[in-house]
C-alpha cells in the first residue's frame, strides 16, 4: 500500500512516517512543497493520502473527487459514517485521510488511528517544548530579581529567594510574578 503524507511540518511528517513504518507500511512518501501538489500526487499514484488540517492546500485535494480525466482512480475521503468517533478524533487531532475506493475499511482505520495518535503526540511534544521554554524564561526572571534584591538589600542569595517566596505566599501570587514586579520597580527607580 502506497501512502503519501502531505504536511508542511517536516518534523510532524517524520514522526508520522516513522509510526507508519513501524506498523509495517514501508511505502511512504512525504510532500512538503505545495506547488504542483496534484501533479506530484498523480505521479506517485498513492492508495492513501494523509493531510494536516492546517494546510490550505487541502481544498486542492477536493478536486480529486471530481470526474476528471486527470484522475486515474477514484478517490474518496475517509468518511465512514458508522464510525463518527474516529472521524471526530481525526479532525480533533488535525489530520484527514483520502483513500482510493475499494480499500478495506479496517486497514484504513488502523492507519487513521495511527495518524491520530502520532498527531496528538506531536502536539503534546510541542506543548511540552513551549512549557519548557517558558519555565526557562521564568527561572531567568526569578534569578534576575534575586540579584537585584541581593544588591539593593545586601542579602545573601538564599535570603533574597526566601524574601520573594514569603512575599509571594503572603500576596497569594506566584514567585515569578513577584520577580516581575521587582524587575519593573527597579527599572522605575533607575
Amino acid at each position: 500500500m502506497k501512502i503519501v503524507i502531505v504536511d508542511e511540518s517536516p518534523v510532524r511528517a517524520a514522526i508520522l512516517e516513522d509510526g507508519l513504518r513501524e506498523a509495517g507500511f514501508t511505502n511512504v512518501e512525504r510532500i512538503g512543497e505545495m506547488r504542483s501538489l496534484l501533479a506530484r500526487i498523480y505521479a506517485i499514484d498513492p492508495d492513501v493520502i494523509l493531510i494536516d488540517l492546517e494546510n490550505p492546500s487541502r481544498d486542492i485535494l477536493e478536486q480529486m473527487f471530481q470526474v476528471s480525466r486527470a484522475v486515474r482512480r477514484p478517490v474518496a475521503m475517509f468518511v465512514d459514517q458508522s464510525d463518527a468517533a474516529s472521524i471526530q478524533a481525526s479532525v480533533d487531532a488535525g489530520v484527514s485521510a483520502y483513500i482510493v475506493d475499494g480499500l478495506k475499511k479496517e486497514r484504513i482505520k488502523s492507519i487513521l488511528d495511527l495518524c491520530v495518535s502520532r498527531f496528538n503526540a506531536f502536539s503534546r511534544l510541542q506543548d511540552e517544548l513551549a512549557r519548557a521554554k517558558s519555565e526557562i524564561e521564568e527561572r531567568k526572571t526569578i534569578d534576575r530579581a534575586k540579584g537585584l534584591l541581593m544588591k539593593a538589600k545586601k542579602l545573601s542569595e538564599e535570603d533574597a529567594y526566601r524574601l520573594m517566596r514569603s512575599t509571594a505566599m503572603r500576596e497569594k501570587k506566584k514567585i515569578f510574578e513577584i520577580a516581575q514586579a521587582i524587575i519593573t520597580a527597579s527599572e522605575l527607580f533607575k
Partner: protein
C-alpha cells in the same frame, strides 16, 4: 429573550463577504441577542464543511454551493444542511494575467465590458494556442462547489470554450491565487474580495469582469448549519438571524471606513483597510495603471433583500452542478436543493425584513443563455451547447 443555548462556535474563512458575521460579533449585536459567539478562523473550505458536518461548528460562513452539495450528498458525505440566511450575493471577479489580457484584447471583437465579447475573445485565444500547439490556459478557482467555479465555467462556455476540454481549471486556496498568477502557474482566476484587487495592485492582473456583470444576483455565501441543529434550537437560530440582520444594516449605514477598519483586523480578513474599502464601495481598480470601475451592486450584503435565502438561487446552483457532471439531473435532487435555502426560517425570525425586489426576467439575470426555470432543470440545461449533463 432567553435562548436554549448561548455559546455558539461559528467557522469562517477570512473574506470580506463575511462582514455581517464579523460586525454582528464585534459590534455586540449577537451579545444583545443573548448569544456568546466564538468566531473560528479556518484555512480551507473542506475544514469548514467537515467541522460543520461533525458538529465542531454550530454554524459557518460557507460557500452557498457547499451547503447544497452536502445536503445532496454530492462530492462528499451526505449531511443535511440548511441555509436560513444569505451572508452575501455576488462579490467575485474574473482576473487575468497581463499577457492573457493583451492576447484577448488583440482578439476582441466588441466591447471589453461585454462578457460575451470577452468570452469569444478567449475562445479565439484558445484556438490560436491550440494551432500553435501551446499548453492550454490554466484558470484558478477556489473550490469545486463554488460560485467561482460556476461563474468561470458559465462565462467561458458562453464564448465556446469547453472548461473541461479546452482549458485547465484548478482549485487554489484564495491566498495563493495572486502568487500563482504572478509566477505564471495560472493565466487567470475567479475569486472573491480582496484577492482580485491585490493582484491588480501588485501589477500582475487585470480585472476582466465583476461577477455581477455576468449574473445580476448570485447567492455567494450562506450562513449554514446542520438541519438537526436548526430544528433543535429554533430560538438560537432566530436570535442569530436578527443579530446578522442588524449587522447587515449597520454595514449599509455606517461609515464604510469604520467597517473596513474592523474587517482589516488580523483575526478577521487581515488585509489592508483601503483594499477592503474598495470592495465594500464596489469601486475597484481594474488595471495596474489605475483605471477604476464602479458597480454599487458588486457585493450585496444586506441590500436589495439579498439576506433572504431564495430557493430559486439554490436551484440554480444545483443546475450548475448538474450541467458540469457533479450531480445527476433529477426532480428529487432539485427539490432537496431548494429546501436547503430556508426562507421560512428567515421569515420567522425577521418578519419585517425587506423583501427582495421582484426580479426583472429570471432570478439570476445571466448575461447570456436561456431564462432560468427552476421547475425543469433538464429543459434548461438542454439549451446549453457545452455541458456534461
Amino acid at each position: 429573550m432567553t435562548a436554549e443555548r448561548e455559546h455558539l462556535r461559528i467557522g469562517f474563512i477570512p473574506l470580506a463577504d463575511a462582514a455581517s458575521l464579523f460586525v454582528a460579533v464585534d459590534k455586540g449585536f449577537a451579545a444583545q441577542e443573548g448569544l456568546d459567539v466564538e468566531l473560528v478562523q479556518e484555512v480551507s473550505w473542506s475544514n469548514v464543511r467537515d467541522k460543520l458536518n461533525i458538529g465542531m461548528f454550530d454554524a459557518a460562513h460557507l460557500l452557498a454551493p457547499i451547503a447544497v452539495a452536502s445536503s445532496l450528498g454530492v462530492g462528499h458525505v451526505k449531511t443535511p444542511i440548511v441555509a436560513p440566511y444569505n451572508l452575501a450575493m455576488n462579490g467575485n471577479a474574473i482576473t487575468v494575467s497581463p499577457t492573457l489580457h493583451e492576447a484577448m484584447r488583440a482578439r476582441l471583437d466588441g466591447d471589453a465590458l461585454d462578457p460575451l465579447a470577452t468570452a469569444r475573445a478567449l475562445a479565439r485565444v484558445v484556438a490560436d494556442r491550440k494551432a500553435a500547439q501551446a499548453e492550454p490556459l490554466t484558470f484558478g478557482m477556489t473550490f469545486p462547489f463554488s460560485g467561482h467555479n460556476y461563474q468561470l465555467r458559465y462565462w467561458m462556455a458562453a464564448g465556446g470554450v469547453d472548461p473541461d476540454e479546452d482549458v485547465r481549471l484548478v482549485v487554489l486556496p484564495p491566498p495563493y491565487m495572486v502568487g500563482s498568477l504572478a509566477q505564471g502557474h495560472v493565466d487567470g482566476f475567479c475569486v472573491g474580495a480582496p484577492w482580485n484587487s491585490v493582484a491588480v495592485d501588485l501589477g500582475v492582473g487585470h480585472i476582466l469582469h465583476f461577477s455581477v456583470e455576468l449574473f445580476s444576483r448570485c447567492a455567494e455565501k450562506s450562513l449554514a448549519m446542520r438541519e438537526h441543529f436548526a430544528l433543535e434550537h429554533p430560538n438560537v437560530v432566530a436570535a442569530l438571524l436578527r443579530a446578522l440582520h442588524r449587522a447587515a444594516r449597520f454595514v449599509a449605514e455606517a461609515d464604510p471606513h469604520e467597517i473596513a477598519a474592523l474587517l482589516a483586523r488580523p483575526d478577521r480578513v487581515g488585509v489592508d483597510a483601503q483594499v477592503i474599502l474598495r470592495t465594500l464601495q464596489g469601486r475597484l481598480k481594474v488595471t495596474p495603471d489605475g483605471a477604476t470601475r464602479e458597480n454599487a451592486r458588486y457585493l450585496l450584503l444586506g441590500q436589495e433583500g439579498a439576506e433572504r435565502p431564495d430557493p430559486t438561487q439554490a436551484a440554480w446552483l444545483y443546475a450548475q452542478m448538474a450541467r458540469w457532471g457533479q450531480a445527476p439531473v433529477s426532480p428529487a435532487h432539485l427539490d432537496a436543493a431548494k429546501n436547503v435555502f430556508r426562507a421560512d426560517l428567515f421569515d420567522a425570525a425577521l418578519p419585517s425584513a425587506t423583501a427582495p425586489p421582484p426580479p426583472t426576467g429570471d432570478a439570476i439575470g445571466a448575461f447570456s443563455g436561456p431564462v432560468f426555470d427552476d421547475r425543469d432543470i433538464g429543459a434548461y440545461l438542454s439549451a446549453f451547447p457545452i455541458r456534461r449533463a
